[in-house]
């Protein structure tokens, strides 16, 4: 893997160049809530010890509300107008490994048969620079889902802090290499080994063991206790880097025009699977919670070979009802 040393100042200069060329440059916001676009190179945030943002980076590739087309009515005729996507280039700088890893996971569902070009064009227009993570709290469990604080999955380039002023920059993909060629004048070098991350989260559970239990215990009473805690607010799905369920609805502006949009939705909502006849296959919260765990840790893996979770811990940190998904999986691990 090609690797160079890069100083903080070089990164700042590169960002200033990109902003001048009308790129979006997106980093974790200092208040820790979400990723935001910056307007000056003074605002870059490369604090690897920051807690993961409340809201993941997913909203840049799979927005909360995404218009898919517009329509205009004229008597009984209807004209459809394509949604035009912003084709500005994006640099994502300082992305947590548990966020970057979500992009190849989402790629599976958005491209497994029909290709969702809304997702693809945004990914194609983006360069992802991941940042090794030195944060850990009881809700983190990236190491339990085949990831780690220095995982390069989903990143085009990857930064590992060396000391206060510099980083090792690893080139992960062709896209990353092309980006460096265009914007960096860097020397290939070998430098000192980077310090081991002392805050690597311990493994909370053995995934294979958990999956095996899920394969065989759909009807277990275990779900009844867990589901009752859940309020069905779906925050867990919304903050997650890889949850991707959505609704498609029409919004009218008056009688004659409007648009069709994809909106975030979640299997935790009571109406998610309700038929028009009134029949609801998942008619209580326990069944809905069971679906969440089974979809993320069994069905998606069975179908696409990816765990639908990056162990970022966001859902646990922000659950109003205090449900900790890592603790639930650790409990399953004991069976």
């Amino acid at each position: 893997m090609k690797e160079v040393l890069i100083s903080y100042n070089t990164i700042k200069e590169t960002v200033a160049k990109l902003l001048n060329k009308e790129w979006n440059v997106i980093t974790p916001s200092p208040d820790g809530i979400r990723y935001t676009a910056i307007t000056s190179s003074d605002e870059i945030n490369l604090a690897g010890d920051q807690r993961p943002t409340n809201i993941s980076v997913k909203e840049f590739f799979f927005p909360k509300t995404d218009p898919v087309f517009y329509f205009k009515k004229n008597q009984s005729e209807v004209e459809l107008i394509d949604a035009v996507l912003n084709d500005k280039k994006n640099l994502f700088l300082g992305i947590k490994p548990c966020d970057a890893a979500g992009i190849p996971v989402l790629d599976k569902i958005f491209n497994w048969d029909y290709k969702d070009e809304f997702f693809n064009s945004r990914v194609n227009n983006s360069v992802i620079i991941g940042l090794a993570c030195s944060y850990s709290d009881p809700q983190c469990f990236c190491t339990s889902v085949n990831l780690s604080p220095d995982s390069t999955k989903g990143s085009d380039l990857f930064l590992i802090p060396v000391d206060n002023s510099g980083f090792r920059l690893q080139v992960i993909t062709e896209k990353g290499s092309a980006f460096l060629k265009e914007f960096g004048a860097l020397e290939e070098t070998s430098g000192p080994a980077h310090p081991k991350n002392s805050t690597v989260p311990d493994k909370k559970f053995d995934y294979d063991k958990v999956k095996n239990w899920l394969d065989n215990n759909f009807q277990s009473d275990f779900w009844k206790g867990k589901g009752e805690l859940c309020l069905g607010c779906a925050q867990c799905a919304f903050v997650c880097p890889v949850c991707h369920c959505f609704d498609i609805i029409d919004e009218s502006c008056g009688y004659e025009c409007g648009r069709r949009v994809k909106n975030w939705d979640a299997c935790q909502f009571g109406l998610f699977t309700k038929h028009a006849s009134g029949h609801n296959p998942r008619n209580d919260q326990s069944k809905r919670y069971r679906q969440r765990i089974n979809h993320k840790f069994k069905y998606y893996d069975d179908k696409f070979g990816e765990i639908l979770c990056t162990g970022c811990g966001r859902c646990s940190r922000d659950c109003v009802a205090g449900i900790d998904i890592g603790e639930i999986l650790a409990e399953i691990n004991t069976f």
Binding site: S76, F246, A276, P281
Partner: protein
């Protein structure tokens, strides 16, 4: 940019009032090139748009042997279907599709076919019925068992009559106990009970079943007793679907997406699914 969520436009050319709350729309694809190239297989569904109200999932109720028009039948039950009831001949709707898998017509050739349907569930079955009847020489005996809550709730009443007149086709219509009128000449009883009563043999026969989930659940054991094999009992799950493309997650049941791996499933496949449909 190839937009998988964008429909093409269709015009309503005829509306048939089937029951007080059910209608059939006859639709024509507006773009001539699209219309000439459009094709589908029996069992597939589409997403029908009422622009401004939303999209709704229905099977394509007409047969793929008759491609001048596409038909869908729907019951007024929610937001989009209520809006559909307000549409008139000449209005424009949208359509995305065809999606999903289909009934294995080729494998059914040379066999007897037993159609079992309940209520609005006759719509997807009707597609296969006409597909089979249009190619009648390829199949053996054809039996149709159809039931609804009451006489007023029976759909495709004219077609039920024409099937009754057809040679080589045995048609039995039933209504739930209490749903009969004073001059009702058909059967009275729930569909699974009527199937048990007429007791068709499972030997070299394929059963196509669609109706309310509870009707399907009670019909399978009856057919098993009559000797139908698990591969020869085929149903279509009309789950709540949205994108139709295996992305939005709404129809995910176990390891399958009903919109991609279904909606047509054999009893053998249904038994492998978690009880969530």
């Amino acid at each position: 940019m190839d937009n998988i969520y964008k429909p093409f436009n269709v015009k309503i050319v005829d509306i048939i009032e089937e029951t007080p709350d059910t209608r059939t729309f006859k639709l024509e694809i507006i773009d001539k090139l699209l219309k000439d190239n459009f094709t589908f297989k029996a069992g597939q569904f589409a997403e029908y748009s009422v622009y401004g109200e939303g999209e709704c999932t229905f099977c394509i109720a007409s047969s793929p042997t008759r491609l001048d028009y596409l038909e869908c039948s729907f019951k007024e039950a929610g937001k989009v279907t209520t809006a559909m009831r307000k549409l008139n001949v000449g209005d424009t709707m949208g359509l995305r599709g065809p999606y999903g898998n289909y009934f294995p017509l080729e494998e059914m050739e040379g066999k007897n076919v037993l159609f079992i349907a309940g209520g609005i569930g006759l719509a997807p079955v009707r597609c296969v019925i006409w597909n089979v009847l249009d190619l009648k020489e390829r199949f053996k005996d054809i039996t149709i068992v159809y039931g609804a809550r009451s006489v007023a709730d029976l759909v495709y009443k004219n077609e039920l009559e024409s099937w009754k007149q057809m040679e080589g086709v045995k048609t039995i219509v039933t209504v739930d106990p209490g749903g009969e009128t004073s001059d009702w000449k058909g059967e009275i009883g729930f569909v699974p009970a009527i199937v048990e009563k007429i007791a068709p043999s499972g030997d070299n026969t394929v059963a196509i079943i669609c109706g309310p989930p509870i009707m399907i659940k009670y019909t399978f054991p009856v057919l098993e007793k009559l000797g139908f094999t698990e591969d020869n009992m085929i149903t279509t799950l009309e789950n709540r679907m949205k994108c139709g493309l295996g992305k939005c997650g709404r129809c995910n049941v176990g390891n399958v997406y009903v919109c991609k791996d279904g909606p047509v499933f054999t009893y053998k496949q249904i038994k492998l699914l978690p009880d969530e449909f």
